[in-house]
């Protein structure tokens, strides 16, 4: 089936593979097919060398040592491995974890698993209206038996940047491990595991113009962080993750990191320009538009916007040339708006009107301009259909009406 959407604005869901990355990967699908763990011939050595160079690239972008990088299948696995692995290794000494209500499901579910099956106590920190955690609240939630704090770097739905350095400080002072899910942060903000006192960090290939199905977990060596492996096997990746590595995927992740590292500053400048052009384009032509999440502490590649009085799904249906995501994630039967927007205290009616716009490396100015036009046109059309818009124009306070919730 032909994909009819022709402008991709969903860079938080996934990113296209950078052609430079693909080019580096291809030989490892062809004649360089060796097993990187084969020690006896050049096929193995060649594959091993490629994965080790890739490991260096991954390490470099977060100022780590290559020895601290474990390749995985993606950030989901990395998050599971970090949280459950640390919990299983140290669980008999300390059994309290602090995370945050807006974390990715794989972090929340890992914590829930430990709570339900392994006698762990979990604190789910709330967020402020801007989507950031409150450092005082974090400090207050620390207990004698707090083993681990897991807070993400950049949010996948609302793009906000958490204060990693401050969290890291707090962890170090209290002798608590700090894990951070940086799937959406790599290549977007400067990350330094030493400066930020990070003990474990999750990385994903397909959010940074690399391939899907590969990621990495950074695990600190000094002072050493121990992790219990989840899979039994040949003990690859320093015993933390058994299984034969895919050199092609590792090379892809490495090259993706290398490019991000080299080009981040330039890319961010371009994205800031495009984001401003988009946001100003929308807000100068539409009123009652609200940005969800901090406007200050956010990456330029994400805008989560509520278009009051226009339901998000109908808006997406109208802008059919644009591939965006409904911020309200209300496409399932549940009719529930996103747990993230709700956690920010966005009222339910506004949460239903949200779009997540993701812009990235291959977004052009022309695409931004067409997107603004399409969105403005459709918002205006749908508002002319909206009884809520009509009431608002008549000065009726919608929140004062007694609605029959169904």
């Amino acid at each position: 089936m032909k994909v009819s959407n022709n402008i991709y604005l969903d860079y938080q869901a996934t990113t296209p593979l950078d052609p430079r990355v693909l080019e580096k990967m291809i030989p490892y699908f062809n004649d360089r097919f060796g097993n990187p763990h084969s020690r006896n011939h050049s096929y193995g050595w060649e594959a091993e060398e490629a994965t080790e160079i890739a490991r260096e690239h991954v390490a470099k972008i977060i100022n780590a040592s290559p020895k601290e990088i474990v390749f995985t299948s993606g950030a989901t696995e990395s998050n599971n491995l970090a949280i459950k692995g640390i919990a299983d290794f140290y669980g008999d000494k300390k059994n309290h974890i602090i995370t945050c209500v807006t974390e990715h499901k794989c972090v929340l579910e890992s914590c829930r698993f430990l709570n339900e099956n392994e006698n762990f106590e979990v604190t789910y920190l709330p967020v402020r209206q801007d989507g950031l955690i409150d450092l005082d609240a974090l400090q207050k939630s620390i207990k004698q038996n707090t083993l681990l704090i897991s807070i993400m770097g950049v949010h996948n739905e609302i793009g906000v940047i958490q204060p990693l350095k401050e969290i890291g400080n707090l962890c170090r002072k209290n002798n608590i491990f700090f894990h951070t899910d940086c799937a959406q942060a790599i290549g977007k903000i400067k990350l330094d595991v030493d400066e930020m006192n990070i003990d474990a960090m999750s990385i994903s290939g397909h959010k940074i113009y690399g391939p899907k199905g590969v990621g990495a977990l950074y695990v600190r060596r000094k002072p050493r962080v121990r992790i219990k492996a989840m899979m039994s096997g040949g003990g690859q990746e320093r015993g933390m993750r058994s299984g034969t590595l895919s050199p092609a995927l590792c090379v892809g992740l490495g090259e993706a990191c290398r490019i991000c590292n080299d080009e981040m500053d330039e890319e961010n400048k371009r994205l800031i320009y495009l984001k401003n052009r988009f946001y100003e384009g929308i807000t100068s032509k539409c009123k009652d538009v609200y940005l969800n999440g901090s406007s200050e502490f956010r990456i330029p590649g994400n805008l989560n916007i509520s278009f009051a009085y226009v339901e998000g799904e109908s808006l997406m249906m109208g802008i059919k040339d644009l591939a965006v995501s409904s911020g309200s994630a209300c496409t399932s039967a549940s009719l529930e708006p996103s747990y993230v927007l709700r956690a920010l205290g966005v009222e339910e009616e506004l949460a239903h009107t949200s779009l997540r716009i993701g812009i990235g490396r291959f977004t052009t100015e022309k695409e931004i301009d067409k997107s603004v036009n399409d969105i403005v046109k459709e918002v205006n059309r749908l508002r002319s259909l909206s009884p809520l818009w009509e009431m608002a124009q008549e000065g009726i306070d919608i929140s004062k009406i007694e609605w029959a919730e169904h």
């Binding site: 009085y309 109208g318 009222e347 809520l388 609605w403 919730e405």
Partner: protein, 129 residues
């Protein structure tokens, strides 16, 4: 998810969008749904002396299926006697638009909107069942 031609047609070219004078004796207004649930429909009918619906208008906040369902019912109720209109079933709406299962609630809401509008008209004009 692929929507039916019929549904997309109503979504893209909704019929009878607008408002009637809600204070008129001849107009019945139904406002159903809730913003917090993501859909609100307003259906208005204008009824003549013989109880026939001579005009209908709608405005809807909701997904494409909700918009299409409400657009469709404005066409269906026009020319019908109010009691006849009251018989329209959500299943007919769902079938006509080929609503996917997760969108059946939109047709339920449309049926509710008709009932609410007819009710409002009857109350205004002191018509008992």
């Amino acid at each position: 998810m692929a929507y039916s031609k019929e549904l997309i047609d109503h979504y893209e070219k909704p019929r009878n969008v607008g408002s009637l004078d809600k204070d008129s004796e001849k107009v019945g207004t139904g406002l159903v749904g809730a913003p917090a649930c993501g859909d609100v429909m307003k259906l208005q009918i204008k009824v003549d002396d013989k109880g026939i619906i001579e005009d209908a208008k709608f405005k809807t906040f909701g997904c494409g299926s909700a918009i299409a369902s409400s657009s469709l019912i404005t066409e269906w109720v026009k020319g019908k006697n109010i009691n006849e209109a009251n018989q329209i079933k959500n299943t007919e709406i769902a079938k006509h638009l080929a609503l996917p299962p997760v969108k059946i609630h939109c047709s339920v809401l449309a049926e509710d909107a008709i009932k609410a509008a007819v009710n409002d008209y009857k109350k205004k004009n002191r018509i008992n069942e």
